[in-house]
């Protein structure tokens, strides 16, 4: 795969806007290695990708997304913060309609002043959408970081936190998972165990159970070291036994449900959230503090007149990509069902792609007019 070259010349409806914001214009190959998308973007992208093979059998994909190719490009660059912008087609299988969507976008990678970077990105995205269309603009903003902080403050077991975090932004899944955690499990955890296994499992001795499972795997003819380890299974089994004795209590459940129902204009959101957490005796600092400073900045930089625009915070709002870690947002136009732009903070992605430490990053893409697409 040849490295992307910053290009000059034709193309780029919003190129001047992004370059004025300090971005390097990138021209990225349409064909990308498929594995990074498969490993980091989640099944929704995987399912909709067009995958093909190179001459030596390597798996290639028609790029389904720009963020990952931009990050891969950044990996190959010298260290240090950089901003990038791009324009081109992305390809995702659509059940109906067109599978090729024209997008332009901006990624701001490596900046440690995250609050300013977030506010910059939103202001730039609003301006970008405003340039492309004249109508009234609304911004919907969510924060998976704040939700994660709430899960920690509620002192939920790690397995539950993980599950709820993965459901964030998908209303139906969240509802189903909350219901499931609220109902105690009544099935017999040792159903189907033979006497020997039941005897070892009942002792609550992790090391002994692991040894037993290891010996059994060998007896069953499993290839050694091929997947989950006996130690991991034994640990999780005992963890699950203890979790079964507890379930999500009604007050905690009510806090989670009430939190997810919070909607407010961004200007009022900090106060609403502060009152909500205080009312339940929860302290969410520093997450709430960051939220407040950032909200103030975003509102202060909102250049559109109050009648023309609305920036709303929605506690349950998320976007269905695995790599987001903090602020997420979508920008909508009056009378259009599909968002005109969307983006968010993805501080974990660079590490998933190969850096030793997490690299802070935020970006967004704007759908270009006439670009088609299903979602």
């Amino acid at each position: 795969m040849s490295a992307a070259q910053p290009t000059s010349g034709s193309g780029g409806l919003l190129r001047d806007l992004f370059e004025a914001a300090g971005a390097t214009w990138l021209s990225l190959p349409v064909l990308q290695p498929a594995d990074p998308f498969l490993e980091t973007a989640g099944e929704d992208i995987r399912r909709r990708m067009f995958v093909t093979e190179g001459v030596s059998g390597e798996r290639l994909a028609l790029r389904p997304d720009f963020t990952i190719p931009v990050c891969l490009h950044h990996l190959g660059e010298e260290n240090g913060p950089r901003k990038y912008a791009y324009e081109g087609a992305v390809f995702r299988r659509a059940e109906s309609g067109v599978s090729e969507v024209l997008e332009t976008g901006y990624e701001d990678i490596g900046r440690t002043d995250k609050v300013e970077a977030d506010a910059d990105a939103i202001a730039l995205a609003v301006e970008a959408v405003g340039r492309l269309s004249g109508g009234a603009i609304t911004v919907r903003l969510g924060d998976i970081g704040l939700f994660t902080a709430l899960l920690s403050a509620l002192d939920l077991p790690p397995a539950w936190r993980r599950r709820l975090r993965l459901s964030f932004g998908v209303a139906e899944l969240m509802r189903a998972n909350l219901d499931r955690l609220a109902a105690p499990r009544t099935d017999d955890p040792m159903a189907g165990f033979d006497a020997e296994l039941a005897a070892v499992a009942g002792k609550h001795d992790e090391a002994a159970l692991a040894r037993f499972l290891e010996a059994r795997a060998e007896a069953h003819g499993h290839v050694p070291d091929a997947g989950r380890t006996a130690a991991d299974i034994a640990r999780r089994f005992l963890e699950q036994l203890s979790l079964r004795e507890t379930h999500l209590d009604q007050p905690t459940l009510a806090i989670l449900r009430d939190y997810l129902a919070i909607e407010a204009p961004l200007g009022d959101a900090s106060e609403t959230l502060g009152a909500f957490f205080a009312g339940h005796g929860l302290s969410l600092d520093p997450a709430l503090e960051t939220f407040t400073v950032r909200a103030d900045q975003i509102v202060a930089r909102d250049r559109l007149s109050p009648g023309e625009t609305g920036i709303g915070f929605s506690a349950a709002f998320g976007r269905p990509l695995d790599y987001y870690t903090g602020l997420v947002f979508e920008i909508g136009l009056a009378g259009e069902a599909r968002p005109a732009a969307g983006g968010g903070r993805y501080d974990g992605l660079m590490q998933m792609l190969g850096t030793d430490v997490p690299v802070p990053a935020i970006g967004f893409t704007v759908r270009l007019p006439g670009g088609g697409g299903a979602s």
């Binding site: 498969l38 490993e39 989640g42 099944e43 929704d44 995987r46 399912r47 059940e95 397995a159 993980r162 599950r163 993965l166 459901s167 998908v170 899944l173 189903a176 998972n177 499931r180 099935d187 955890p189 189907g192 165990f193 296994l197 499992a201 499972l213 059994r216 795997a217 069953h220 003819g221 499993h222 290839v223 091929a226 997947g227 989950r228 380890t229 006996a230 991991d232 299974i233 034994a234 999780r236 089994f237 963890e239 699950q240 695995d322």
Partner: protein, 235 residues
């Protein structure tokens, strides 16, 4: 006389025998003019019906394309091989044979995994613990993807299985499987267990109607008679 109704029937195996028996109970006899190796035949006891002998998966494809009017095939094949199958194929009547469940099965040794929610948990930490994504061996890509998506599980990879799927976990080529089972004995012999909520589909042979075939009054009547007689014989 108008063009005949084309009925696609399984050309081999248990499904073929059971289908022939069901037709017999409904009062029809299969005629294969060229002997057992002919791929076209007729039904006695009803006019205007021509029989095409095909493999069960070909039947699903031919139904989808509307090249045959009716066919006997498994619901699993209809749902697996035909995108948006409701638009192309209507399942008219379950026939009471060819029963097979499409299930999610994990190694018996995964004593900490009882349900899809447990699998979700395991999948979420798998990359960190094992260094790759959870792998599922299956021939049922479509059913697997839809089922896992409905449980919110995204962190996995499907590895294509062309042969003995149930051997993949022990061989280390996959961590779990999605496969069909009738009695569960093959799964048990391979030390696999079905998750409590891991039944994706309870499938059986169906008589299915191709929505996009060329239908006229004569073929419609023949289809109704056939289905009616089979329905009477099944219940």
């Amino acid at each position: 006389m108008s063009d005949p109704l084309i009925l696609a029937l399984p050309s081999k195996g248990r499904l073929q025998e059971e289908t022939e028996r069901a037709l017999g109970r409904a009062g029809f006899t299969l005629e294969k003019p060229g002997g057992a190796r002919n791929y076209r035949g007729r039904l006695t006891g009803i006019d205007n019906v021509e029989v095409a002998f095909l493999s069960a998966s070909e039947i699903a494809r031919e139904l989808a394309a509307g090249r045959v009017h009716l066919g006997v095939t498994g619901e699993d094949l209809v749902r697996e091989t035909i995108p948006q199958c409701e638009r192309h194929v209507e399942l008219l009547l379950p026939l009471g044979f060819g029963r097979a469940d499409v299930v999610v099965a994990v190694p018996e040794l995964w004593i900490d995994v009882w349900t899809m929610a447990d699998l979700d948990d395991v999948a979420a930490t798998f990359l960190g613990r094992v260094g790759r994504r959870l792998r599922i061996a299956t021939k049922y890509w479509t059913l697997t993807q839809a089922f896992f998506a409905s449980h919110g599980i995204a962190l996995y990879r499907i590895v294509e299985s062309l042969g003995a799927t149930e051997g993949a976990p022990a061989a280390g080529t996959a961590d779990l499987i999605v496969d069909i089972t009738t009695t569960g004995s093959t799964l048990r012999a391979n030390h696999l267990k079905i998750l409590e909520d891991g039944v994706i589909l309870r499938s059986e042979a169906n008589i299915a109607r191709a929505v996009n075939a060329a239908w006229d009054d004569a073929t419609r009547q023949a289809a109704e008679r056939l289905t009616g007689a089979l329905g009477g014989a099944v219940s």
